[in-house]
């Protein structure tokens, strides 16, 4: 135990006191926030160009009802089409000419858009939609129904489904499937990167020890199990430190920066939901989907974040430890990092499987496949973490954790055996009998 502690401390210090570690630890969350906020910021500061379109309406019905917005400005003209086209091509402001046929109501295809540059699909749909609406209302009018506008207004319906958990004793927290899978995916990806970064750190560390020749000294001093366990735990603490710092910084940022970036009335709504208000009602007011609002509410709820971070830490550490022991075994059995390529690919396969399963959580967080993958140790760190936000029974989480950590210890034991033998194995190709002797040695 003492030796494990000593090795742990050495591995930890060697990494954490490095300048590059401190820099990445601080810069990473900043970078993430910036990347996340980039679209909003770009929208804020970059005006999209206004496109002017000359409308020649021979029917005289459509043109007055076309509505201009920030991107698209309609300009009614009574010029003849050829003349309008010539004028438009001379005038740089003019994006194009919309020609509407005389009998547009009877013949809806008689509308043409001439543009000087290629137009976007959005723009075309916008124009087509507007013309469609005009034609539809004209056709309705032809039936001579009284108060037609009023009737239509009353008929309109829009359904937004807001979901609530009722199987919990605590006040029914709003739990939208979208919010859960959103957070789950995010955490899953985070975990994947953690496994990839720190797992290969363990592998590299084993290989480095071989090439720096310190290994022979270490092997004649401590047991391989202690050596590997210390190394894996040391790097686990490095990972935990880094994630903890990232977590704290993210919570701080989400409390300080995110509200500043979002439109103010949206923030009000989010706060109201956190205070227990009805998401769908607010969503109607704000013209955004209620899922979006609940998702935002739970993301911005620091208490919820703290709980999730605790779970994530447990699974991250477990998942890391498990994969790190596999990476360590690879490191022990090769001489150079290049030789490890194929083996690492095999090891990362379950991680990829886990990602496919995460996609299914979106559909149903309790399907059998998802359930089993969240218990099997090689996929559980990612799948279970993605499932947690959708609220699952405690026994499932507990079983998953126990399985994960038990598998880890077995894996380290096996890796230590490979380690011990792989170090000075430049001898004959081992037979099964040899391997049995090694395991007992």
């Amino acid at each position: 135990m003492r030796n494990i502690g000593l090795i742990l401390m050495r591995e930890y210090r060697e990494r954490v006191y490095k300048k590059s570690f401190i820099i990445t630890t601080i810069l990473m969350p900043l970078l993430m926030i910036l990347l996340g906020a980039a679209p909003t910021l770009i929208m804020e500061f970059v005006d999209s160009e206004t496109k002017k379109i000359t409308v020649i309406d021979e029917s005289g019905i459509v043109a007055p009802k076309l509505t201009s917005d920030e991107e698209l400005v309609f300009e009614i003209s009574d010029k003849a089409l050829p003349q309008a086209l010539v004028d438009a091509s001379q005038n740089e402001d003019n994006f194009g000419v919309l020609h509407i046929g005389k009998d547009i109501v009877a013949n809806p295809n008689d509308a043409r858009l001439y543009t000087s540059a290629s137009s976007s699909l959005v723009l075309e749909e916008n124009i087509a939609d507007q013309i469609e609406k005009v034609i539809e209302s004209e056709r309705l009018k032809a039936y001579n129904i009284e108060n037609i506008d009023e009737i239509l207004e009353k008929v309109k319906a829009s359904v937004h489904l807001a979901t609530f958990r009722t199987d919990k004793d605590e006040e029914s927290a709003a739990s939208s499937a979208v919010a859960s899978s959103l957070i789950g995916m995010l955490l899953g990806f985070l975990l994947y990167f953690i496994l990839a970064i720190y797992g290969s750190m363990v592998m590299q560390s084993v290989i480095d020890e071989k090439s720096s020749r310190i290994l022979e000294v270490m092997v004649s001093t401590v047991k391989p199990f202690e050596m590997l366990m210390g190394k894996i735990l040391g790097i686990a603490f490095v990972a935990a430190t880094q994630i903890l710092v990232w977590g704290v910084l993210l919570v701080v940022f989400s409390a300080v920066i995110m509200p500043a970036l979002m439109p103010e009335n949206l923030i009000d709504s989010v706060q109201q939901i956190q205070a227990g208000a009805d998401a769908s009602a607010l969503a109607m007011q704000q013209d955004v989907s209620p899922e979006m609002l609940t998702a935002l509410a739970s993301v911005l709820d620091t208490g919820h974040i703290a709980m999730v971070i605790a779970m994530v830490l447990l699974f991250t550490i477990g998942g890391f430890l498990l994969y790190a022991s596999l990476y360590a075994a690879i490191g022990a059995s090769v001489d150079q990092a290049q030789d490890a390529q194929q083996l690492t690919t095999i090891v990362t396969m379950p991680i990829i499987v886990a990602f496919v399963v995460i996609m299914m959580i979106m559909k149903d967080p309790n399907s059998p496949l998802v359930f089993w993958c969240s218990l099997i140790p090689f996929t559980s760190p990612i799948v279970m973490v993605a499932r947690i936000p959708s609220g699952i029974p405690v026994w499932e989480i507990a079983t998953s954790l126990v399985l994960l950590y038990a598998t880890f210890v077995v894996c380290v034991w096996g890796a230590a055996k490979i380690y011990k033998i792989g170090i000075f194995m430049h001898g004959a190709k081992p037979t099964l009998r040899d391997m049995w002797r090694w395991l007992k040695y």
Binding site: R2, N3, S212, R213, E216, V217, V219, F424, G427, Y441
Partner: protein
């Protein structure tokens, strides 16, 4: 005197060759034991087998009369031939780390390290990074770390390689001092001078076999006879040609300015006169005398298979 290590019929095969073929050695407690042999003879493999890094294909190793276990490893201090330290760590920090792994408390390790650093006059290295040290410097650090926890058995693989004569001497003194303090020392070398000075026992390994084993004094007495040194002036080539049929040439040093010297082994006493006659006949002989052989002479003759 009991044996601290007994290796019985050790055989170790690697894919291309057999590194050890039925090698047995007995290492008495309290001795300085030299493992000699040319490069690639199997010395390092034997050492790794003794301290359980390599698993032998056949045979077994006894520590204090009992089959060696992982626990016994902590009673051994081992300095490998391929020396390595964590390059990015500071010297003092690293020495403390390794000392604590060997079971010393932080406090005790610090006291002993300071003592050793003072003895070697290297106190100012404490805060240097290992990567800034020269090979010889790093080797000193490793030597200190190996012996710091005062193990019963010390194993040094080629301890003198990489040291200048002054430091090699320092090392010799330290090895003898450790022996006097009660440790058993095994070391491998092909530096014969050091064997004569500090070893009481040797084993000579050549081509995976133990070809000579025993007390240095006994070996000398047994194989010491009939070695003669000659000093002469004249055509060395012609001389060698004429006498190589009757005696074995151990060493030959030709000089164009002064006297050339020659060392020969004459198997049968009856041949001595004829050799003298042959030499006298070919060159201008200045000296012909019997000498006590050095371990180097015995080593060369053993490896040549003429012992």
């Amino acid at each position: 005197m009991s044996n601290i290590i007994t290796a019985e019929h050790i055989t170790k095969r690697f894919s291309a060759h057999t590194a050890l073929d039925d090698v047995s050695v007995e290492i008495p407690r309290g001795s300085v034991y030299g493992l000699l042999g040319p490069n690639g003879a199997g010395k390092t493999t034997l050492i790794r087998t003794i301290n359980r890094i390599t698993l032998p294909d056949e045979g077994r190793v006894l520590f204090d009369g009992k089959p060696i276990t992982q626990q016994d490893i902590f009673r051994i201090g081992y300095l490998p031939e391929e020396r390595g330290l964590y390059r990015k760590m500071k010297v003092g920090e690293q020495a403390l780390f390794l000392a604590q792994l060997k079971g010393l408390s932080h406090h005790e390790a610090l006291i002993r390290l300071k003592e050793w650093f003072t003895r070697f006059g290297i106190e100012e290295w404490w805060n240097k990074k290992v990567e800034d040290l020269s090979k010889g410097m790093a080797q000193k650090i490793q030597f200190i770390v190996t012996v710091l926890h005062k193990p019963e058995l010390l194993i040094f693989d080629e301890p003198f390689s990489g040291f200048d004569p002054i430091n090699a001497n320092l090392l010799k003194e330290e090895i003898l001092r450790l022996r006097d303090e009660g440790a058993t020392v095994i070391f491998s070398t092909h530096n014969m001078a050091s064997v004569e000075e500090i070893c009481d026992h040797i084993t000579l390994i050549n081509k995976s076999h133990n070809i000579l084993s025993g007390k240095v004094d006994d070996i000398r007495r047994a194989h010491g006879g009939n070695i003669f040194s000659v000093q002469y002036k004249g055509d060395g080539k012609a001389l060698i040609e004429r006498i190589s049929g009757v005696c074995e040439i151990i060493a030959h040093e030709e000089s164009t300015t002064g006297y050339s010297s020659l060392k020969v082994h004459i198997e049968r006493n009856e041949d001595v006169r004829s050799v003298v006659a042959l030499i006298n006949d070919t060159v201008e002989m200045r000296q012909f005398s019997e000498t006590i052989p050095s371990m180097n002479d015995i080593f060369i003759r053993a490896v040549n298979g003429t012992l």
